[in-house]
């Protein structure tokens, strides 16, 4: 079976205008995303993440190299049928309501009739925009609601791959957590999710594999476990260890020539603490 997405030597240069030369946005990217995995494209602003995504979507033409989606050349209708896309900012026609947005994207994907109407209801329920919320104009939505409406729109054609460009940028922690949960749910349903982000903690929570880009070049690629695990260290979290036991344990370790790298009470992440502090109904 072909990879969900494969790029070979993908390169993009943008002309700067007459007699002003060209700027290099992406340099020879080789990348393979397997079906059913959550894949993170990481890097600071201007590293080439969005350019790579746009070439995979067929919105930009590569200067050199090629990209394939489920075995189809990127940009072809067959390739675009396989992908749902959520842009970084809510670039949606804001005169539409949430339901109308999903209907519009469904029709653009060639859907119609009762099948489409049923799908709209399912998706709006899934992203918690069912009922009255789905009937409101998009211009009255919060950023988190817009992203959820956009996600419903991206999923309307039941694509194999979902491509999310900075899905949590500008979204509050609760909204961010929701999007993260949705990504995990999509993985459970067997979908491939490719997302870009510069919020590394969030990537850590959901990605199976990542690629790190910088100034258009690939710096690192691999499974998160392989990249992040300090193989020479070992960590044990315990409860109820008394002060004298701690001293004894440290002495025991030093006697065996083990270097204690760090020691102390583990800290909770601020995001988790914040969410735990909110009343139950506000967490979702």
């Amino acid at each position: 079976m072909s990879a969900a997405v494969q790029t070979v030597g993908l390169r993009k240069e943008f002309p700067m205008g007459w007699f002003r030369g060209r700027v290099l946005a992406l340099e020879g990217l080789d990348m393979e995303v397997h079906r059913g995995e959550v894949f993170g494209l990481l890097g600071p602003n201007g590293s080439g993440k969005s350019t790579a995504m746009k070439m995979i979507l067929g919105l930009l033409r590569p200067t050199r190299g090629r990209a394939e989606v489920c075995g189809y050349r990127a940009g072809t209708i067959a390739a675009r049928r396989q992908i749902g896309f959520l842009p970084e900012n809510p670039y949606f026609p804001n005169f539409l309501s949430g339901a109308e947005l999903v209907r519009y994207y469904g029709r653009l994907s060639g859907m119609g009739g009762r099948v489409l109407e049923k799908r709209i209801q399912e998706l709006l329920e899934m992203v918690r925009l069912g009922g009255e919320a789905g009937k409101r104009p998009l211009r009255t939505y919060s950023k988190g609601m817009l992203q959820r409406a956009g996600l419903a729109g991206a999923m309307v054609g039941d694509p194999e791959i979902l491509m999310l460009d900075e899905p949590t940028a500008g979204v509050d922690p609760a909204g961010s957590r929701e999007i993260r949960d949705l990504i995990l749910e999509l993985r459970q349903r067997g979908k491939t999710v490719i997302f870009s982000s510069h919020l590394l903690e969030q990537v850590e929570d959901v990605a199976d594999r990542v690629i790190i880009l910088h100034r258009g070049q690939k710096l690192r690629e691999g499974k998160l476990d392989d990249l992040l695990t300090r193989k020479k260290e070992w960590e044990v979290n315990v409860q109820g260890l008394k002060e004298e036991d701690r001293k004894e344990l440290r002495g025991w370790l030093e006697k065996r020539g083990v270097q204690v790298v760090r020691e102390g009470a583990p800290r909770e992440r601020l995001e988790d603490y914040f969410l735990r502090s909110l009343p139950e109904e506000k967490r979702r």
């Binding site: 049928r81 539409l96 029709r107």
Partner: protein, 281 residues
């Protein structure tokens, strides 16, 4: 093929809906008020002159309003979507770029057709109102009443409406073509207006080309031929003025102009689709 129709329909419907929700139709209210105000003007003149004034005013107002909405709408059609980046979420779908262009153009054309249609009905309504007023005042003589009715209920005005619609459809197609080349709405509007003006001088260029003979240089001939072939002849739509002035224009001539406009629209949309196909978004 069905899929193409559905996708084009979705883009066209969305374009129309956007215009409706942005209250483009509010201009119709202004138009109606201008007409009603105009209808009560020149009451001291003969009824023929009053009807002529009303028809002139009505068709000039339809033409100007249609040109403004068509031009502003068409120049916003693609550059506006690129600027707001809503184009990204549309073109990443299984939608061909030519389907997007045709859908956008169709949406605008439907908008123009509805607007012109409503304005034409408003003109007919005001003419009918004037007819009732004049018959009540001067129509005691059946011969005079018949003349008033003939002036008010001129079926040739339908031809004028059809010609106006196709003229504006050509202007919109020119704007759509330029909007696939550039991102600046100012550039698109300037180029469209320039072609519109050249289109009114096109017949002069054609005559010069045909009659230049040995006198003109090959470069001048080439230029004149280029203008004659590439730019639509907007003088053809002067038939509208003839109709409004009360002169007879055959349906055959009207349909010839419609066919001529159709060919230009098809060529312009094909060229726009070809240019847009290779463009980075």
């Amino acid at each position: 093929m069905m899929g193409s129709f559905r996708r084009i329909g979705a883009v066209a419907g969305n374009t129309f809906l956007e215009a409706v929700r942005q209250k483009v139709f509010a201009v119709l209210l202004v138009f109606g008020l201008v007409l009603i105000y105009g209808a009560n003007y020149f009451t001291e003149f003969s009824f023929q002159e009053q009807f002529k004034f009303l028809k002139d005013l009505g068709y000039a107002a339809i033409s100007l309003t249609g040109l403004l909405v068509g031009l502003l709408g068409a120049t916003q059609l693609i550059p506006g979507e690129i600027e707001r980046r809503t184009i990204l979420t549309a073109l990443c779908r299984p939608l061909r770029r030519w389907e997007f262009i045709v859908g956008k153009y169709l949406g605008l054309s439907i908008l123009l057709a509805v607007m012109i249609g409503v304005m034409a009905v408003a003109v007919a309504g005001v003419l009918g109102w004037k007819e009732a007023q004049l018959i009540a005042r001067e129509g005691s003589d059946p011969a005079v009443a018949a003349l008033i009715r003939a002036e008010a209920r001129d079926p040739r005005l339908i031809q004028a409406v059809v010609l106006l619609e196709v003229k504006l459809a050509v202007v919109a197609a020119i704007a759509v073509f330029f909007s696939t080349v550039a991102t600046s709405t100012t550039f698109v509007m300037a180029m469209t207006l320039m072609v519109y003006l050249i289109g009114h001088l096109q017949s002069v260029a054609r005559e010069q080309w045909l009659e230049s003979g040995e006198v003109a240089s090959w470069a001048a001939k080439f230029f004149l031929a280029g203008v004659a072939f590439l730019v639509p002849d907007f003088n053809l739509y002067n038939l509208i003025d003839e109709i409004v002035a009360g002169n007879a224009v055959s349906w055959r001539s009207t349909l010839e102009v419609v066919g001529y406009s159709g060919v230009y629209i098809a060529v312009l949309l094909t060229a726009a689709s070809v240019v847009f196909e290779g463009r980075d978004i």
